[in-house]
Symmetry: C2
Subunit: 439 residues, 2 copies
């Protein structure tokens, strides 16, 4: 039989048991903290109609990122015969915000107002795979739909900051800015030019201020006035920015004061912050850590996204945690830890004759909510213990034919290989006590 | 702006907060019981190379069920120009077994032997959507790779039975059969005919024995000898089947004896059980409940699946729980229960002036691991309490301007609307005690 490749597709990943456990741990942490803030979880399907994903129209940057699903059966044949380029009708979702907007527009009558919601799950982007960038990755979004107040900003950012703190990332910096400020700063520029200027500004981290100024000279022949004001900004001098948009600066000041008063995060008003999505209409934010490059989380206010589903404008704010980033950080900090046991007790299998007694004893221990692994095959005992060691299981119970005759099992401590004799009927109680001590 | 449909694609579903919580609860239950049996969780990507999914070759029944992903960029253009029908390179996984086989073939050196593994997650099938059949649905697979012993059968079936019991589905019936028996019964028939006979036999549930006999007369002009033996089988008379395959009957007898001795399930040897997948090579099983039609779980032994990835034959056994079925059953049994609270305490917001004190108090309560929902907007208090009621939150803490002046908040029981006055600084302790009492 010809061999089929065992690799996952390029940009996609398998996760081994240790990696999977790490991911589940982080996912659970995020879920429980979002719930601690009163957010409710929802699911939307992984697949959406292409018309939904393309939203405001095809040909956008997003369209290139979508994994499109081929039409099927007769519909595909019709498209092929008509030499239509519309060969796909569905696509994999590329973020969680657009499906949320569709979900809300459809189900709003059944949802609380405002709707405090979170989602954790995979999204897909047909990016060129590269180090640290994957085609299937998790997002963890938290959103408040139906609040125009900065209370929404503060609630979402506090929840995300709490997640990062709980995962050991203390001393995070929250960078905040406001799209209304960025728009106001460009009010004297032609709209297209200003759009381009902001896309350039977004590259500040990569190019540095000097490199960016050179880019502006190259593309614009000058440094636009609004960009100069942004560069001239310092933490103590807000005057030029206030002049452009007093409303934004007041809002940013309030958010900064509230976050500082109620959490340990450091907050910086950062007028160079742009963020890519074109649906943002107000506050935008990013959470960074001084020891790490790039951002750990980010988001913003999107007051008009619901309109594309025929709904009136509904003020909304949301943020997202960089799940894959957190997993990598957590893995490297876990690297020195020992392997996590896959079970608390191991029951090797002596022979076919001992199978029923062994299984019965194992089940009686499981009934105490203790995890028990029974070896399926009566192979050499040494090999069975090798397996238990590879699974880091701390205790083993040996029931051979002579143990059945005396009704006494051997309880083995796998780390020091010491054994004690215990009555088979006492096993559930003894192991329950051991398990409590080990917690 | 033209309105975009708010519906998910046909056959795909949104899940509201209550439904999502129900699904998460069942998922957690399954995970913790699989772990209690010493199984380790892994993830494989949602997307696989088409060559992996098509496995033994295209044109199979499975191929029609695959959602295929369109090639992208230059590759797509080349395929279109060449009028190639190979427009897709990737596909959504249609089950969890094939990706597991690929995963194991790739990573076996890093995995314990045998490898006790579970997976919980979505799969996709391009079936025609109908009541209770969806195009995106969850599977919850548990497998032991690398054991030829009936210990694998017993371990997987016990774990699945424990899940069903824990979810309130007691008195389940485990139906077991063996593909080796079915093969032996057809040894005098041409292979193609017997294959067709088994596909017909699989329809017994739908057609009944009489209807099935008519079908056999129609298609075969007779009832094949092997099928007659199956129909003639009764719980007390194994002789004809033993004659065909003594090995199978002995194996089934042992599995039945072990399951019966170590759990509450009822076990039936059922030679009419076929199950669809063509990769099964030995034991097959299904779990049914007498009050419900169809099956709740099923699986079987697949000793040769790894071969398609160039590996030697590796004896394996696995089973899967019908997650969507369980969710529907659980939902209807939960229908009479009250809505689950989204948080334990609600902090309404009086005015912009009280925002900081309110948030600070809320954060101090959250630090006790209590879930707290703060309203983001200082709207009419009546509307805020309506929101809290819609979220079924049992307690509220009111901090208005006069409460700030006296440093005493009002603690409100939302069910009887009674209020007590408590010091703002005592809130964490008082609510912690209330929370413990309510558990």
């Amino acid at each position: 039989m010809s061999k089929i490749s065992t690799n996952p597709p390029s940009g996609f990943r398998d996760f081994l048991p240790n990696e999977s456990a790490n991911r589940r741990k982080i996912e659970s942490c995020i879920r429980s903290i979002y719930q601690q803030f009163g957010f409710q979880e929802i699911y939307t399907p992984m697949v959406e109609n292409l018309t939904t994903l393309l939203g405001k129209g095809g040909g956008s940057e997003n369209e290139k990122l979508i994994f499109k699903i081929l039409k099927r059966g007769e519909e595909l044949n019709r498209s092929l015969e008509a030499s239509s380029t519309e060969l796909a009708d569905l696509g994999l979702k590329f973020d969680l915000t657009l499906p949320l907007a569709r979900f809300y527009a459809k189900n709003r009558e059944k949802l609380s107002k405002p709707f405090k919601v979170f989602q954790i799950g995979p999204v897909w982007r047909a990016d060129r795979p590269q180090k640290g960038r994957f085609r299937e990755f998790y997002q963890c979004d938290v959103d408040i739909i139906g609040s125009a107040s900065i209370g929404a900003e503060v609630d979402c950012i506090l929840a995300i900051a709490k997640v990062l703190e709980t995962l050991g990332l203390e001393n995070c910096e929250v960078h905040i800015n406001d799209r209304r400020l960025l728009q106001a700063l460009g009010k004297n520029e032609p709209a297209g030019d200003w759009q381009k200027a902001l896309i350039l500004l977004d590259k500040l981290d990569k190019l540095g201020q000097e490199g960016l100024e050179q880019e502006f000279q190259k593309s614009f022949g000058r440094i636009p006035d609004g960009i100069q004001k942004i560069f001239a900004f310092s933490d103590s001098d807000f005057s030029a920015l206030k002049e452009a948009s007093n409303e934004s600066i007041e809002s940013l000041d309030s958010i900064k004061a509230l976050l500082t008063a109620t959490s340990k995060v450091e907050v910086k008003i950062n007028p160079t912050l742009v963020r890519g999505q074109d649906y943002y209409t107000g506050t935008i934010f990013e959470i960074r850590h001084k020891d790490l490059s790039g951002s750990l989380a980010g988001g913003g206010r999107y007051n008009r996204l619901l309109e594309i589903f025929g709904s009136e404008a509904i003020p909304s704010f949301g943020g997202s945690i960089g799940f894959e980033r957190l997993c990598l950080l957590q893995e490297s900090s876990d690297a020195n830890e020992n392997k996590k046991p896959t079970a608390f007790v191991f029951f090797p299998l002596f022979s076919e004759k001992t199978r029923e007694v062994t299984l019965t004893a194992a089940q009686s221990v499981r009934n105490k909510n203790i995890s028990v692994d029974v070896f399926p095959d009566p192979v050499k005992l040494g090999n069975q213990f090798k397996y238990a060691d590879s699974c880091a299981i701390p205790y083993a119970v040996v029931i051979g034919e002579s143990e059945i005759a005396t009704q006494k099992a051997k309880l083995k401590n796998m780390s020091d290989r010491t054994e004690t004799e215990v009555s088979i009927s006492d096993l559930p109680k003894i192991l329950e006590n051991l398990c409590k001590k080990n917690q």
